[in-house]
């Protein structure tokens, strides 16, 4: 199917816009150029809204605005009209029919309340001219046939988001799985399977089970085991998604860390050293205080040492002259009165003479001797203390030396560590990534164990189901009075098994085709003649993960691909899907070369032009993306139409 035209009326910033996509050349290529904010992505949204009733690519600004054009609403209100109608019309053709897809929705011009939208398809048979009008559910059904919603992201998409389609999702469905199943018509076959199954059950099994309750019991058990198996399969799928997420995260973080694990440890070591250096500095200050106290103590002791020494010598030399512990006045009185002043005994002449001799020896006054006696021991202490200076000082010097030596060692270490960590500007980031990676490694391990358990369970249940089915078949065989019924059931069961096998084969065939064609296209996109091609094959894993294999190591190397290569792989898959699916519809890509590097653009552009010889392609670009180089590839010789969208000051978008 190809689009002939799109018309938008009052849709978002488009008041009244018409695009024609007339094919004027052999190539069916159409270009729309518009700056960011003009409404490029809303063209994509308008297609989705018209066909599917939703707008999956709305930006934040658009989300906060009504679907109806603001000027349209204002004009309607000014004209006294109750409603402003939003309308998008797509004219499309296939080989045999012309289609007009029209979706409208009324919006209250005062309250901006959005009414119920109406979807209509007008189908005109090219041969007979017969017209068929389909509305709402019927119209939706026709769209399901022509352009299934499940794979619409492979027809209309924003190229920068494309690779996200290949990531596993938590709701355990994947775009890729949906795509493969849709291509393989699995749903159709599944419906046949389910229908046959329900016919078998209703018309043949149930009557048989009524004849033999044991058969019913076995069937009930089989059903219960199938249900349990389904639950485990769902768990397996969810676990696989989680495993893939963890693997991707581990890979991503390993890239981010980029061998800088040691930086975190080095940084911790560096910081610890800084802390210790800080403590050493504080200790050093404390030691300096002690030195200060040493100075305070020993200045008087050492500077006055000689003075003290002289004084003590003098005091010691006069010890015989120092007043004994008696009052000289008592001696004088005793001599005068010839009686001892203490014991009142008369004194002999000898004793009086002795006393007089003592009195004569007391050369100084009582005060002087008091003074000398009082300071003697203090002076002796001072002299003795002075001698301790060196010992005390040496202890402090040793302490200081130890601190300085340790500080030197730490500073040298930190100098080395600083060189190692200075080139890393994001130590905290690395630590975060390392922790995140570690968490995911643990989670991965847990999930892998879980997966093993679930898979074992499924295997066990399969065996049980198999043995129950065998038991069921045996029970049916042993049922003597229902040979015909038994034959039909057996035959039908074989039919179901065959349908299952066919489904698997169909999926497998489509998968192989997709893998092969994706690889061919991918090679065309990125291969340069003068360089060996690095990749050998593309695989779709059991859980529909797209894997790219290295030509030499034959291992998956998706993690080492550049963003551009991944985008091109996604694009290759998309084109392969178009070609294999038979949904020969257009490809509408918003910003197709967003992430493609200069080296690959030429290849990319050439392939797209080639494909446009058999498929309609509509691209939107920003002016900067539609560079001279790109214009060269998509020049007027290959493009059928070219539109440049502009806005005036009212933000209404027009075409020139």
């Amino acid at each position: 199917m190809r689009f002939e035209s799109i018309k938008m009326k009052n849709y978002r910033q488009y008041r009244d816009l018409y695009f024609s996509f007339e094919k004027k050349l052999d190539t069916d290529l159409h270009i729309i150029v518009a700056s960011n904010g003009v409404g490029k992505t809303n063209i994509l949204n308008s297609l989705c809204w018209c066909l599917y009733g939703d707008e999956p690519h709305l930006g934040e600004e658009s989300e906060s605005l009504p679907i109806c054009n603001i000027n349209g609403l204002t004009d309607a209100k000014d004209a006294g009209e109750k409603e402003c109608v939003v309308e998008v019309v797509i004219e499309a053709t296939t080989d045999s029919k012309n289609y007009t897809f029209t979706r409208t929705v009324p919006v209250n011009s005062s309250t901006m309340f959005v009414g119920k939208d109406l979807f209509k398809i007008t189908v005109i048979d090219k041969t007979t001219g017969e017209t068929d009008i389909l509305e709402n559910e019927n119209a939706d059904e026709r769209v399901r046939v022509l352009l299934p919603r499940e794979i619409r992201e492979y027809f209309f998409f924003d190229a920068e988001q494309l690779f996200n389609y290949f990531q596993p999702r938590k709701d355990s469905t994947t775009f890729v799985k949906d795509a493969i199943h849709t291509l393989a018509q699995v749903k159709l076959v599944q419906r046949v399977h389910d229908h046959l199954g329900s016919v078998i059950k209703k018309e043949f099994q149930t009557p048989l089970e009524k004849m033999n309750p044991q058969i019913a019991e076995i069937q009930a058990e089989i059903d219960s085991k199938e249900e349990l198996k389904k639950k485990y399969e769902d768990d397996i799928e969810a676990t696989l998604v989680s495993i893939q997420e963890s693997k991707d995260k581990i890979e991503e973080n390993t890239k981010l860390i980029n061998g800088a694990e040691s930086v975190v440890e080095d940084n911790k070591h560096y910081m610890a050293n800084l802390e210790e250096l800080d403590k050493i500095e504080k200790s050093r200050q404390s030691v300096m205080l002690k030195f200060q106290e040493l100075v305070q103590k020993y200045i008087p002791l050492l500077y006055l040492y000689k003075v003290n020494e002289t004084a003590l010598e003098f005091i010691n030399s006069k010890k015989n002259v120092l007043r004994p512990d008696i009052d000289p006045k008592l001696l004088i009185q005793s001599v005068r009165e010839h009686v001892c002043a203490c014991c009142k005994e008369p004194l002999s002449e000898d004793k009086q003479a002795e006393m007089q001799r003592i009195i004569d020896k007391l050369e100084w006054s009582t005060d002087v001797t008091d003074v000398l006696n009082s300071v003697k021991s203090e002076i002796a202490n001072s002299i003795s203390s002075a001698k301790n200076y060196k010992k005390e000082k040496d202890v402090l010097m040793e302490e200081l030396r130890n601190l300085d030596d340790r500080a030197q060692v730490l500073e040298a270490e930190n100098e080395r560590l600083f060189i190692k960590i200075r080139d890393c500007s994001n130590v905290d980031g690395i630590e975060l990534w390392m922790n995140e990676r570690k968490d995911h490694q643990e989670l991965l391990e847990q999930n892998q164990k879980k997966l093993g358990v679930y898979e074992d369970k499924v295997t066990e249940i399969d065996k049980t189901i198999e043995s129950l089915k065998e038991k069921y078949r045996k029970s049916i065989k042993e049922q003597n009075d229902s040979d015909a019924l038994k034959e039909i059931i057996e035959f039908s069961q074989r039919g179901l098994d065959i349908i299952d096998e066919i489904t698997e084969e169909m999926i497998s065939e489509v998968r192989e085709q997709m893998e092969e064609r994706t690889m061919e296209l991918f090679k065309q996109f990125i291969w340069k003649d003068n360089l060996p091609f690095r990749y050998s094959k593309v695989k779709l894993t059991e859980n529909y993960k797209l894997q790219l294999y290295h030509a030499v190591t034959n291992t998956s190397c998706m993690g080492s691909c550049s963003a551009a290569e991944r985008q091109m792989l996604a694009l290759a898959f998309t084109i392969a899907l178009h070609q294999i699916s038979g949904y020969d519809s257009l490809l509408f890509i918003d910003t197709p070369v967003g992430r493609v590097s200069d080296l690959n653009r030429e290849n990319f552009a050439k392939v797209l032009v080639e494909i446009s010889q058999t498929k309609q392609m509509i691209f939107t670009f920003t002016p900067s993306e539609f560079s001279e180089e790109i214009q060269g590839y998509f020049n007027e010789n290959v493009r059928s139409t070219y539109r440049r969208l502009t806005t005036d000051y009212t933000k209404t978008t027009e075409v020139n």
Partner: protein, 148 residues
Amino acid sequence: MATRMLKVVKNVSDNVIPAIDHDNLLGLKTPPFDRCDMFMIAMAMGVEKGYKTEMYDKGTALIRETSVSGKNNALMTALMIEEAQTSNEIDKLADKDSTYSLAQDYANTGFTVLNELVERLQQGETNEDLIWDMISNLDSKYEELFSE
């Protein structure tokens, strides 16, 4: 009876001591170190300098006699003993005023040394620099006193 006081000249009390306090020279402001201890250091520095500087004004009271510890009292007395011996005036030992006067004169010299240290601080040297200087002087003194 009036309390006997240890005095310093006005310049020392108005300028030198405040400067010492402001920069906490050699920790002389930090308790338990007190004014009397500071006075003794000044006196010791004066003795080490080798000369006393007579008080040229009637002086400003700094320390009460009752605040002078036995140890510090002994240091001043030892100085007086030396002086009294030299002048053969032993009786002067009983004259506390003479002892105080002598101590004050030597301290006066010492405060000029302390003032020089304060100026060095103000010119950018650190307390640590001065401590190492003092240690060096004390090392030399120790060597002089106790080397064999």
